[in-house]
Each structure stands twice: as C-alpha cells, then as structure tokens.
C-alpha cells in the first residue's frame, strides 16, 4: 500500500515539530478526559481540577518550547513562534485562574467547551492566512456561544446569549464577505501575498472594503465601540468565571491575532484603514468610559470599562508589530485585573447576600464591612487600581508602554486620547471605592469564609501575584521580534 500524501513533507514531523505542537496536544488530551468525566457525571470540582491540570501542563509545554525557532505548519496555516508561545502562556494562565471559580453545578460540559475554546484561542494568533484565521475564530467562538448561555434561565441569560449568538453569526458572515473581497483582489488568502499587493499599490477600493469588513467582524469579538452591545449583557449574565475567561483570554487572543494578521497582510499600510481603525478605538474609549460612568450594576460597569480598555489597545494596534510587546503586556495585566475583580465579586456577593453576582450593584458594597472582609476587599481594590493604571501596580506599565510606543510612532493625538480616557476612567473606578471603604457599613452580617469563597479568593490572590510575575518575566524575556528598544530607534 502506498499513501503518497502521508509521505509528503507535511507529515515528516521532527522532534522540534512535536515540541512546538505539544501545547495543543496537551489541550486535546484534556478535552478527551473532561468529556469522559462529563459522561460519568463528575462533580464540578473534578472538572475544575481536570481543566486546571490541563492548563498547567499546557503552560509547561509552552515554556519548554520557548526560545526555539519559529516553525510553519501546513504552509501558512500555523506559525508557531515565541510571541505565540507567550500568548499561549497568557491565555492558559487566565483560563486556569478563571476555572478556579467556575461555579457551574448543572452542566458538566463547561469544562470540555472551555478547553475547545482555548484550543481556538491558542491557534488564532498563529494563523498566517485568512482561511485558517476563520477556522480558528469559529473554533473559539462556537463553544463560546454555549458557554455564554449556560445560565439560560436566569439573570437574563437567554437574552444575552441570543444577542451574542445572532451578532456573532452576523460578524462571521461579515468576516467571510471581507475575506472574499480581499481574495478577489489579491488572488490569495495568504497574508504575505496580500501584503505584497498592498505594497505594490495594486489595491483597490474593494480591498479596503474587504479589510474594513474583516476589521469590524474582529472588533465584534473584542467588543469595540460600534459592535460592543453584547459585552455588557454577556459579562453580566454568564457564570462569573466564564465571563472572566471570555473577556480576558478572548481579548488577549483576538487582539494578538488582529495585530499579526493586520500587519502581516499590510492593512495598516493603507492610510484610510489605519485612520478608520483608530477612530473605532477612539470611539470605544469614549463610549466605554461614558457608559461605565452611568452604570449601577457592578458587572455591567466593569464590562463597559473593558470596552474602553479595548479602545486603548485598538488605538495602539496600527503602530504594528513593534508595539506587540506593549500590547500583550497591557492585555494580560488588564485581563488579570479584570479576572481578579470578578473573582472578588464572587466572594463579595456572598457577603451582601444577593443571589448572584449578576445583580450586584455598586451601592450593595455598602454592606461589606471592609474590616471583617479585609483580604477580599483589599484584593478587589488592588485589581481596580491596577485596571485604572495607577503605579506601581502592573496595569500602569502596560499603559505606559502603549502610550510610549504610540508617541514614538508619531501618533501623539492617540497617546493624549488614551490619557484623557484614563482620567475619565478614574471617576468610575473611584466610585466603587466610596461604598466599599468610605461609607460606614450598613449591614451587620458576620462574614464567614465558606469553602466556596476560597476558590475565588485563591484565584484573586494568584491573579495578583501572576500580574507581577508576568510583568517581570515578560519585560526581561520578551521575544526579540518586537524588541522595544530597537523599535524605538527605527521610529526615530
């Protein structure tokens, strides 16, 4: 018997290939194990630990590969390099912490879905052509729809998940349409070929239109301004851990994918595209911050604040891959801060006696006695201050680097815009502190840390530690292809 296909170069895998692929293989093993566990109706803690172990193993596999050469798989379908490994590390780190406080007794499938979604997230930034991009995006999105709808019958979960699903389907259609237009002009899905076409000034309005459609559909995934409406509903109604995962890991992966895809396809070299993209970013900053200011519900407020933060990243994206390090650093510190806050909410809700975090209002925090629940309150405020970007917390450094990259690339207005947005942001972040600390507590509930609070607490504490570790590790070992110092010299 002769199978020429399997003897072709594609399947001649060397040791280096296996090392590069190992994070994905580990995730797949985890998927199989959690499916079996779900079949046996395992308890939620079994699922939690399975997911946790899988994530730790994935992280170790990614760390093992750090420093090795970039490898292509299946032509342009997947490029595994150090930047992708760092992104994988960030995604599984956030996933691990989020899984610690997923409190989903009814549906065991959440663990499998979470892992499948993670595979998509880890693949997406490695795509080097638009077909792969689309396939990976759907891999992460489809389990995401189900995860977002786990609480279908409460907290407005039905409305939220339906909105998410319909808008997501619409976004996918836009993506396909955009890809078609781009293919029509360039004759290829390959990023490099498209960049060539852009570079030779052969592009037409059709290509620009295609690029914009792609941008809008990816903007949907990260909740940028005109297509952000789903974010508040989903972040409010999905189970707390899942919401933190979708918001945190989802944004890291999709933004990093947008960065590599848009710059590798040369979209940012199209002046109109860059301008419009920055307008989207600027609009998100304003819309997110203003809407967050007017929110009473805590999770909705945090959701809108994350729209604003996505705006900061979108403003920085057109700088291109030189800003990659800054963007990844910011995304991860923000995601960890966001996750820290959500984990603390899960603990705080038990003190206030509300049924779930979805209905937790800012004024409810008045019932929290900051003396008795000192640890959780302190962690919560550190998370908030980190997101607000106040030094010496890690959130500051990410913002600093992004502004710095914008400045050296000559985007002064965008830099000032981010600073103005941060000022606005302070107003609502401080609004949380008022009932938490400054009003005297009105409730006289005694706080007993039930075992169920310990998961969120551990997750929050770990998130804080990881934030600092990430900043140091990343600042010293950042991949060289986007080394900040060289980038700056070129810009000058």
């Amino acid at each position: 018997m002769n199978y020429p296909f399997f003897e072709s170069e594609v399947f001649q895998l060397t040791n280096a290939h296996w090392v590069a692929l190992s994070p994905y293989l580990v995730l797949c093993v985890g998927i199989v194990l959690t499916t079996i566990a779900a079949g046996f109706k395992a308890k939620v803690c079994t699922h939690r630990s399975l997911v946790g172990v899988t994530f730790v193993a994935t992280a170790l596999a990614a760390i093992y590969g750090l420093g090795s050469e970039a490898i292509n798989f299946f032509g342009t379908s997947l490029l595994i390099n150090d930047m992708l490994r760092w992104t994988i590390l960030a995604i599984v780190g956030i996933g691990f912490l989020a899984a610690l406080f997923v409190d989903e007794e009814e549906h065991g499938e959440w663990s499998t879905l979470l892992l499948i979604s993670t595979v998509g997230l880890c693949l997406l930034p490695g795509a080097r052509d638009w077909v792969a991009f689309f396939v990976y995006l759907e891999t992460l999105a489809i389990p995401g729809y189900v995860l977002a709808g786990l609480r279908l019958r409460r907290d407005g979960g039905f409305e939220a998940s339906l909105k998410y699903l319909l808008m997501g389907a619409f976004a996918s259609a836009l993506l396909l349409m955009g890809m078609t237009l781009v293919y029509g002009v360039a004759g290829s899905f390959d990023y490099a070929v498209i960049r060539d076409v852009v570079g030779r000034d052969l592009f037409s309005t059709m290509l620009v239109a295609g690029a914009l459609l792609i941008a809008i559909s990816s903007a949907f995934k990260v909740a940028l301004a005109p297509v952000h409406m789903w974010a508040a509903d989903i972040y409010q109604s999905a189970p707390t851990g899942i919401a933190a995962f979708l918001a945190g890991a989802g944004k890291v992966a999709v933004f990093m994918a947008m960065l590599s895809a848009f710059s590798a396809s040369g979209f940012f070299e199209i002046a109109v595209f860059s301008k419009l993209f920055m307008i989207i970013g600027a609009a998100s900053v304003i819309v997110g911050n203003l809407l967050a200011l007017s929110q009473k519900n805590l999770r909705r407020m945090l959701a809108y604040s994350s729209v604003a933060s996505a705006g900061y990243v979108a403003l920085t994206l057109p700088v291109g891959e030189t800003a990659g390090t800054a963007i990844l650093l910011y995304l991860v510190t923000y995601a960890l801060g966001f996750l820290l806050c959500f984990a603390c909410l899960e603990g705080l809700v038990r003190i206030t006696g509300k049924p779930s975090t979805a209905s937790l209002e800012i004024s409810d925090l008045k019932q929290v006695d900051s003396k008795k629940a000192g640890l959780i309150v302190a962690l919560f405020s550190l998370g908030i201050f980190s997101m607000a970007g106040i030094p010496p917390l890690p959130g500051f450094l990410g913002k600093y680097l992004m502004i710095s990259d914008l400045w050296s690339a000559g985007h002064t207005a965008a830099a000032i815009w981010i600073i103005t947005g941060s000022m606005l942001g302070l107003a609502y972040y401080l609004k949380i502190m008022v009932p938490l600390y400054l009003d005297s507590p009105s409730g006289n509930k005694t706080v007993s840390l039930r075992s169920s609070v310990k998961g969120p607490l551990a997750s929050a504490g770990l998130a804080l530690v990881l934030m600092f570790v990430w900043v140091w590790a990343f600042a010293y070992m950042a991949p060289s292809n986007s080394d900040m110092s060289t980038a700056r010299v070129e810009a000058r």
Binding site: K371, G374, F385, I390, P391, P392, F396, Y400, L401, I403, S404, W407, S408, A415, I416, I419, S422, M423, L426, A427, L430, M433, V434, Y437, L438, D439, A475, A478, D483, M484, S485, R488, A491, R492
Partner: protein, 490 residues
C-alpha cells in the same frame, strides 16, 4: 543602601502593620512608634553621612526596565535631604499623637507608613519613571486617609483631591513618555547632561516643561489650581492634614526645583513672570480668603495657599537668596503649619467643632496650649526670630531685584498674614470663654505634649540658628543658579 532603606522601611512597616490588624490597639500603636525609631536611624545616618558638594549622586540603582532606559535610581542631595528629615520628624511626632486614639488603628497607621514611603521615594528618585511611580503611589493612601478618617464632607474632599492631582500627574506622565522616547533614558543625570535644546515654549523642551509644571502647580497649589486644598485640608484627619501641609505640598516646590529648573532652565525663564504673577495673586487672594473664613482648618488651609505663593515667587525669581529662601520656607512652613494643624487637631478631638465663633478664651482654659498655638501662629506670620521670617525675607529681597512690582504686591501678604492670623487668635485664644470651650475640658495627655513641643523647639532653633540648614542646601541652590545662568542651547 541608606537611600534604599529610607523608602523601603516605611513600606515594610506599612505591610507589617497591616498584618497586625487584629492585634490590640496598644500593641499596634507602639509597634508603629518602634518602627518609626528604626526609620529614624536611617534618616540620621543619611543626615550625618551627607556631604554637600555634589548633585544627583546615585547611591542606589537597580536597572528595572532597561528597554525603557529607566532604572530605580535613588540618591540624596541638598535639595531632598531637608525634606526627608522634615517628613520623618512630622511622621514620628504624629505617631506619638496617635497613641491611645481609638480611631487610629492598624489600617490608619499602615496607610500612613505607605504614604511616607511614597513621599520619601519621590524625594529620593533620580529617574523620571521612578519619580512618577512614587508620586502616584502617594495618592492612594492619602485618598483613603481623607476619605475614611476625615470629617463630614470627606468623600467629596477625597475625590476632589484625587481627581485634581491625578489630572495634573497624567500631563506629567505624557511629558515623561515624550522624554523617554526622545532621549532613550529617563535618568535625571543623563537628561540634564543631554542639555535639552530649547526653541520656545511651543517647542520640545517648552511643552515637556509645561507638562511637569502643571503637575507640580496642582500639588503646590498655585492659584487658580488651588481649590482642592481647602476641602482636603478641612476634611482630612489631623495626621493627614499635617502631612499634607508639611510634606505633600512641599513636594510640588521640590519637584519644580529638581525636575523643572534643573532640566529645563530656559523654558523656566520664559514662564517666570507668569508664575511669579500667579504666585503673587496666590499670596494676596489666599490671604484675603483666609481672613474671611469662619472655619479654623479652612483658614489655615488658605493661609497655606498664601505661603506657598511666596515659595513660587522664590522659585521663579532666579535670585540665589530667593531660591534659598524658598527652600528654607519649605521647612519653616512645614513646621509652623504642621504645628497649627496638630494643635488645633488636639483641640478638635475634644470639641468636635471647627467654627471660629464657637471658640474663645483658650488662654484661660489651657494657658500652655494657648501659648503653643500663638507661638506657631507667630511663626506662620513671620515674626522675626522664628523661621517664617527668614524664609519670607529672603524670598522678598530676592524677588525685589527681579521684579519690584510683584515684590511690593506680595509684601502686602506679610501684612495680611498678620491680620488674619491675629484676628483668628483674638477670637479663639483670647476673650471670654466661648460656648464649646465652656462645656469641654482641654487637658492634654503626655503623648500629645510630646508630639507638639519638639515642633516648637525646632521652630525656635531654625529661627535663631538657620545656618546649619543653609549649609546643607547651599550647594544645591548655587548649583541650580549657575545652571540657570549658563543658559544652554539658545
């Protein structure tokens, strides 16, 4: 290593105090005192080891972000040393004051220590990013100190404080980023050696300087950016008021000297007249506003606006006496206003009212305390023999050479200072015993005396023998003046 410990020790003490949150009050407060004593050893070592004659000597450096050209560089020189000592003295005396006060428990003292770490850190920092980190680091503990332990309107005051300062700081952040991208380094020494070329206020040096200036002007505060101060001062608890007046405002003056004048001398010369005019307006309007206040703490706060107006004059007159005077006045005002806030705080702890009209006859209730209060008020007015006089005299005589009109206008501030202080003293200390003092005993505990008396002694020493302080800061002042005179890159 001393430099590192100077800011690290308060930070560690803060964390240690947080761990004692469940311990008995007495243990916490005495631990705080003991931790301050150790900190004092480091301050003492810094004071005795100090040799004037060099600026910006880096005594500790950790290359934390090589890619940004930034390192945690710390150093002590003639500009920062007196303020570090002042910060320690005030904080140390306040830890005596807090003994036995039930409300001032572990969280309060821990926040205080963390605040100290931020303020001393920004005095030590010789790197723009490190400076910014410390500068912002002060905001969070202060926000909570005002917002949690303050009086009735505290939340509003805390928010206003935070919003004003943060808005100013973000402009400074922008300036720092611009410097970093342009010069690849954020070290104070390297930036100074780079001799940033100057082409008008709209040019690079000009804009960057303005970014720094706004942040410092908010902190000082320079009229018309001063509106946060009366609220913050009035609502803050006694300890926070003292540190706010004694250290935080001074950091604005210090910041202009180190990060403004030394790095951007030419831009500073271009805004000098404007800044001096604003300073003079602050002196006059602040004095009039203080005169009209019915709330004692508010009155002292407005008097701070006026006094800090003098310091702005001293900074931008570009005369050696004036700058020396501003640096001296920094300390003098820290001691005298700190003492006023502290003494009034002690009275307020018993009476719980700030209305001037409710007081009267303090002298007949507690003669010693009344003497201390009058003494501090006199120091604040600038009575010869007390430090306020030396500072204001030097500033005004320097300003007179530069701009006679402004000097004459601000001279009225000295007179107005006497008017509002004396009329307040008449209503509070003398005359018949007022309604509140009738119903409350004013008897001080030993630890409250321990917190007040050293301030008075220091004021007397500083007023009679200012020379030992001038020796420490003389070189720094001369150095800045020579820098201003050299005028690079026109």
């Amino acid at each position: 290593m001393t430099a590192l410990m100077l800011f690290l020790w308060p930070l560690l003490s803060g964390l240690a105090l947080l761990c004692l949150i469940k311990a008995p009050l007495k243990v916490v407060q005495w631990t705080n005192l003991a931790l301050h004593l150790v900190w004092g050893v480091f301050v003492w070592k810094a004071w005795t080891d100090f040799v004037p004659g060099q600026m910006g000597t880096v005594s500790f450096s950790w290359n934390w972000f090589p890619s940004l050209g930034s390192s945690l560089a710390l150093g002590i020189d003639g500009l920062s040393l007196p303020l570090i000592v002042l910060n320690f003295i005030l904080s140390f005396l306040l830890s005596f004051y807090s003994l036995g006060k039930e409300k001032l428990g572990a969280t309060y003292l821990a926040l205080f220590s963390i605040l100290n770490s931020g303020s001393v850190g920004s005095l030590l920092a010789l790197d723009a990013l490190a400076f910014y980190v410390f500068w912002e680091f002060m905001l969070i503990p202060m926000y909570f100190l005002i917002g949690k332990w303050g009086s009735k309107n505290r939340v509003y005051a805390a928010l206003k404080f935070f919003a004003f300062t943060m808005a100013g700081s973000l402009l400074m952040l922008l300036a720092i980023i611009a410097l970093g991208t342009e010069y690849q380094t954020l070290s104070w020494n390297a930036l100074r050696d780079a001799q940033i070329p100057y082409n008008g206020l709209g040019g690079f040096q000009g804009l960057v300087f303005l970014g720094f200036l706004v942040a410092f002007a908010v902190k000082i505060p320079v009229w018309p950016l001063h509106t946060w101060l009366p609220d913050a001062h009035t609502e803050a608890p006694t300890g926070a008021s003292v540190i706010l007046a004694g250290v935080l405002l001074k950091l604005g003056v210090y910041g202009i000297a180190r990060w403004g004048l030394a790095l951007f001398p030419l831009a500073a010369q271009d805004v000098a007249t404007v800044m001096m005019t604003l300073g003079a307006i602050g002196v006059v309007l602040g004095s009039f506003a203080a005169w009209k206040q019915t709330d004692i703490k508010r009155m002292i706060a407005y008097s701070s606006v006026a006094h800090l107006g003098f310091m702005v004059l001293g900074l931008f007159a570009f005369q050696e006496e004036a700058l020396q005077g501003a640096m001296f006045q920094n300390l003098a005002h820290g001691l005298s206003t700190g003492a006023l806030f502290l003494i009034f705080g002690i009275i307020y702890d018993r009476t719980h009212t700030r209305e001037i009209s409710q007081y009267g006859g303090l002298a007949s209730k507690n003669g010693l305390l009344a003497t201390a209060f009058v003494f501090s008020a006199m120091a604040s007015i600038g009575l010869p023999g007390l430090p306020g006089f030396i500072g204001e005299f030097l500033i005004l005589s320097g300003t007179f050479f530069t701009n006679k009109t402004i000097a004459l206008v601000s001279l009225s501030g000295v007179l107005l200072g006497a008017v509002y202080m004396l009329s307040m003293l008449r209503k509070v200390v003398f005359g018949p015993v007022g309604p509140t003092l009738e119903s409350h005993e004013i008897k001080l505990t030993w630890n409250e005396w321990v917190s007040v008396v050293p301030l008075l002694v220091l004021m007397l020493i500083l007023g009679m023998q200012p020379q030992f302080l001038f020796e420490k800061s003389k070189f720094a002042v001369e150095w800045i003046m020579s820098l201003m005179a050299s005028g690079w890159g026109v």
